[in-house]
Symmetry: D2
Subunit: 458 residues, 4 copies
Amino acid sequence: MNQKTWGGRFTDGTDARVEAFTESISFDRRLYRHDIIASQAHARMLAEVGLLTATEAEQIVSSLEEIGAEIEAGKMEFSISLEDIHTHLERRLIEKLGDVGRKLHTARSRNDQVVTALKLWTRDAIDELDALLAELQKAFVESAEREAGVIIPGYTHLQRAQPVLAAHYFLAYVEKLQRDRDRLRDCRARVNVLPLGAAALAGTSLPINRESVRAKLSSDSVARNSLDVSSDRDFALEFVFCLALIATHLSGWAEEWVIWSTTEFNFLDLPDAFCTGSSIMPHKKNPDVLELTRGKSGRVIGALQQLFVLVKGLPLAYNRDLQEDKPAIFDAFDTVAGCLSVAAPLVRQTKLRREVIASRLEAGFLDATTLMESLIARGVPMRSAHEAVGNLVRECEKRKCRLAELPDSMFEAVAPGQSVAIKSSLGVSNALTAFKSYGSTAPAEVERQLREWKERLS
Amino acid sequence: MNQKTWGGRFTDGTDARVEAFTESISFDRRLYRHDIIASQAHARMLAEVGLLTATEAEQIVSSLEEIGAEIEAGKMEFSISLEDIHTHLERRLIEKLGDVGRKLHTARSRNDQVVTALKLWTRDAIDELDALLAELQKAFVESAEREAGVIIPGYTHLQRAQPVLAAHYFLAYVEKLQRDRDRLRDCRARVNVLPLGAAALAGTSLPINRESVRAKLSSDSVARNSLDVSSDRDFALEFVFCLALIATHLSGWAEEWVIWSTTEFNFLDLPDAFCTGSSIMPHKKNPDVLELTRGKSGRVIGALQQLFVLVKGLPLAYNRDLQEDKPAIFDAFDTVAGCLSVAAPLVRQTKLRREVIASRLEAGFLDATTLMESLIARGVPMRSAHEAVGNLVRECEKRKCRLAELPDSMFEAVAPGQSVAIKSSLGVSNALTAFKSYGSTAPAEVERQLREWKERLS
Amino acid sequence: MNQKTWGGRFTDGTDARVEAFTESISFDRRLYRHDIIASQAHARMLAEVGLLTATEAEQIVSSLEEIGAEIEAGKMEFSISLEDIHTHLERRLIEKLGDVGRKLHTARSRNDQVVTALKLWTRDAIDELDALLAELQKAFVESAEREAGVIIPGYTHLQRAQPVLAAHYFLAYVEKLQRDRDRLRDCRARVNVLPLGAAALAGTSLPINRESVRAKLSSDSVARNSLDVSSDRDFALEFVFCLALIATHLSGWAEEWVIWSTTEFNFLDLPDAFCTGSSIMPHKKNPDVLELTRGKSGRVIGALQQLFVLVKGLPLAYNRDLQEDKPAIFDAFDTVAGCLSVAAPLVRQTKLRREVIASRLEAGFLDATTLMESLIARGVPMRSAHEAVGNLVRECEKRKCRLAELPDSMFEAVAPGQSVAIKSSLGVSNALTAFKSYGSTAPAEVERQLREWKERLS
Amino acid sequence: MNQKTWGGRFTDGTDARVEAFTESISFDRRLYRHDIIASQAHARMLAEVGLLTATEAEQIVSSLEEIGAEIEAGKMEFSISLEDIHTHLERRLIEKLGDVGRKLHTARSRNDQVVTALKLWTRDAIDELDALLAELQKAFVESAEREAGVIIPGYTHLQRAQPVLAAHYFLAYVEKLQRDRDRLRDCRARVNVLPLGAAALAGTSLPINRESVRAKLSSDSVARNSLDVSSDRDFALEFVFCLALIATHLSGWAEEWVIWSTTEFNFLDLPDAFCTGSSIMPHKKNPDVLELTRGKSGRVIGALQQLFVLVKGLPLAYNRDLQEDKPAIFDAFDTVAGCLSVAAPLVRQTKLRREVIASRLEAGFLDATTLMESLIARGVPMRSAHEAVGNLVRECEKRKCRLAELPDSMFEAVAPGQSVAIKSSLGVSNALTAFKSYGSTAPAEVERQLREWKERLS
């Protein structure tokens, strides 16, 4: 008998180059566990509806269990002439069980089988990512606690803008990661729709019970239209999009910390264990983990683009092109999971250089906007207040001084009779404590949010 | 006074080339209505908390209404020296109201203002897309009804696979579009979180009430972290991802119908009104709408890639790069909305060439799989049944005949004593009616699903 | 001594997770041969300028040769704690030669070393691709010869347009592949500029001779600016762009042949050895090689996008992100080389189904444009002739007939007194032989070009 | 007569939505001048071969000239019912000349006409870009001259690495831009191949002379295969790839200067005229031009991705999808030309803050590698010298001092008897002048290269 699952109608064997070109066993072996689980559920259902005997089903279930153990023990030999993991598992089953093994593929096709295994794998991958994201959130929350009370410059356009609490800064990333988790949760609901039973593209004439399989596999629902199932990779694109956005978030954080690690910024004390040196320059300590994290975003974004090109212009239903989905999905997942795994300990072990930060905190007019707002609170129209403070800043630049160092007369001109009150409220520390609004860097506000995140993540 | 909102601290004016390079008024004027709505809510809140008088707020609200009307009447002159729509609106307000106008920008920044307007616009865009998608679903459902009972070949690998009901085929696209709608719904929940009040990046020292603004703008919630707000474009990427996936779905449908419109397939009667001719070849009738729909997928996928590159590696918080989000978002939306708008009437007006389809329906062994399943139902192990039918097909290829035309003896060899029953169940019509499973092309199953979709979409 | 090349200034060892995250040995081991060649040239030059003795240089050269043999024999143990192939080679050299081995890295950095090895590898890859492209061109030329004289329908918009010689069709792909080769040739000139000697980013204070290394490595010239070298990956992007365009060319060809392999077109006799079957549908023979070739274009295009995201926004000079270039380059090359390797034999073994094609050649008004041109030649203004023939085609559609079957009177109305001459020139065969222009499908023209290509490729 | 060029065979008019969906006049009007030039050459050739009289040709040529003037004067009314610029021009010609106008389209199709106009436009665009790139090179060369002798820190991993001359730094960008120009030159050779005369896809039966048209349009050669012409957009992808790489180069430069403009780095004195302020924060001076330049790279990279998706999987020959090439090409060109136009004056007007840079030059161990090389020159094996200097740096970190401040005994331990010589060669200035190698930052080397670039660019 032919080694392939489909040799009957063919006169000539497959060209060896074609076997090498079309194989997927080199990457889809990773799905063996999920394929086994789905096959076991399928076999049990076949027994329920009378297409197998109960004994046959149990033989299949336990033999698949054995085969899974063989793979884990490294005893399975993989061969490109057997195409994919699904064929390997079925062939091995037939070796073990003969005709009983030949019955497993009843009322299913590789089309629905492959996508079922891939969806089960993706469901697990999402759960794993969710845990990794939560872990990184916790690392940021811990940093927020550790650096409580530390004021850092906030930037827009990478120019010093207003002072913010370090805790506020760390919690901003917690928010971004939470959206990533929310998106994955929404994606999971679409992943967890069972394709199995759609068969090749049109369903089957055999009396299967898809609802029973769904319950066994803990899927949320059964896919409604077999043609749709046979052509659908939406879940893969959505999953990789979620990954690409996570990678992009990490790229921004990495960029920021690369900048903060320069001699010039010197905000961070990166642990030696997360840096590497230079083969030629003996003094170098480089933030390689951050740089690679930044660069790896390209890999995940590239994987998403690959998938879009892949499915563009494909008519219904299954086309072999779709086999190429898995390398993209696996690589995107591995890349993001790898980045998250190393990000959490790096965040935990990195400390702010508080003295360095504090020593330059009064540079860059971080208090200018609060000054403007104090004028507004005193009744100056916002645009006029903005103009007035802008002029004061220009004067400071000329004199190379801070706002608090300008002569009283200049404040008197702007807010007659209030120059003393105004001047006494200048400086970064005053500016920081002046914040009030919901979601702002006001100390009480940040403390409340930090408390909420700690509860939520515990 | 300087025309810009920020001239105070500057000594020299802006280079004219820089004004042209940095302006956004050429594309963000499209946001005028949403910016007005947000400004009106903001002004009313400012009055509630005492930063404006009630009279001032009402002056602002009604003047903004007038300005909106001026823009709609084409009376607003746009100038790149005023940068963006937000500056245009504020300048015009100040022209009308003087110092009262100068107070509107109290406790907000363009950073939170722009993203608020863009989110309100995106919310509307999502609702518009949802309606367009529903309309296209209805067109497919109508086609399913109109072509009820028609059998067409189902394809995998673009090779004839099994027979399916035309209605089943049309409903496959309804499923895909439903997932598109579901994704947009999930995206909308993240879009509808209010940024306003985050100010530049750190919040404000003025006593604003963000909850009040949220209620006025019907947002679902208030964004929690001001630094996150100032740097966040997740919603834009997610929205454009949703658009890219819709465009990709349409590209596959378009490809399929381009193929079905060939002389060789000849499945479709495309309306003249949706085709164009050739400038040189007088006989041509080309499916241009389908081709452009297929090609325009590139535009939307490209827009998504643009956004990913845009945000890659950006540190917190706002960076001016983000201004480039809008051309991508607008172009992606216009492209997809345009495709959907023309797709629905095209689907409605296109008819299957039933006779042509029927005349070749017995070609391509569409009944082979059902034959195999009937052997399985008679107890032949699946793999053995597959092999046996494969051999029968190979025999047919040699004899250039159909399965039903093979001699009885060949069936007798495969299923002793059952060759008569088996042969009588061959043929495409029998194969079609044999389907049973949930989600399959079984007539009763398709009828049920069609009924459900009609209800759901009505 | 530390295993790394850079441990001196570090207090703590590297975190194991970081080693796994930052390693490149899993993919850059592929560069071992090119790194050895470059190191040998470097060592010989060091001896020429007195930084090594002649004996030391020869020890290094011969030991590297031995190490290369060890790797080929599978005797080298790879470890992620040694980071990359370059460290592995140097460590092994030091094991063999002690202090002499410690001298090899004199006046070079991994920054220039890595990019030198990668450029040498790319140069070889380009030469290999050039040979594969030439082989595929030859396969198309052979097809052109084999199918000489066969007329096929030419399509625009996938609608039948005008008749073309099959040979003309095959030669169109030869042209596209020639442009691919030309682009690779231009790319090669930029690849073949020697980086070695730029050291880390600024050159060296040691008296090296870069020209001598250039001559030894057969590079075309020496890179002029060390900062540029340390940050430049242009050659990688250009190379992968060339690959992406090749893959895109192949995707169009594959798409076309997938369509031509349908039951409906039935133009091609694909060899069994290049097709596969279905796990469930026993009658299927699917054009998998073509489908995968089409789909793999996404992989290469995705790799290009990955590289663009990677280098976007990187300041000078070397950044660790750049390590991520190699997986993209290698995967893109392997994918395209794989597609080309299987495309050539597939083209060679696929035959046109001449009878099927011929039997439907008169369908689709392939002679309409030639009819129009014959009216133009008789003095009818082009637009009027176009209109007139358009009307005749509409009449044919009503009557369901060909142009040649319309009554004489209709031609007489269009071209009084010339209807006999005109009607006798109708039909696809006449239309084909009427072509005259340079580059057209005129038989003499195609024959000439075929002759030229045969000479050029021999 | 129908307004379209192709109405004859159609029964029903075009749906208004379809006209709006398929039109290209809104963007391809930009090609009017190039289409006119090509039509004039075509008409003259038609007269040469007898398909027009000399008088007819001259009427066409001069009328097209008039029409061009009408367009320039804003007198042409554009309408989507006339599809594209080509139809507009032909209709207007027919209005002016009647039947003579109806003859212009003899022996050509829009397929070859459009691509001819687009190639002529692209040729001009390349020449314009070449001039813009040269201008930016000159600006960098001027900066190199202006800042002659200034030493700046060179970075790898954004960590201080070795000292470099500012001139060396500026010339690194000149090298990158030169490669961009070289790539455009190679691209131009492939753009400048004449498509006209390929007609729809198969050539023509009329006796045209393509060589004559080629000479008139100064093309380098005539495209050889009509099917290839009708399907080829390689030149567009290659052109946009070149643009994307230019944009990517600019993104890296912009990133660098954004970082250098921070309070922390403070390397640059950006002119007010190239910065903008904040609507809320009165003290801000933001490097918006640099940020937008960085962000706009996404737009061009997105355009390239759009084009790849567009052509992926398209069979021969022309497909309407290809119409979507122009918005991508135009937007990519405009974006890059805009960035280059503003980059040159920005580079010219930006000065280094020499005192700030000098004041921190001894920070970061920029002399460590030269120290190591001086040990190598004294016979210490490179790896041992690296280790030794690494240990010295670690000692400096502990003591918070520079290498030159370590006690003599520590140098004596490393290089017995040479500590005095070694210590006297420490410091950044000594390190800089020690460089020797070709392409290094050695002053004489940089001076030579600067001289060469000045000559080459003058």
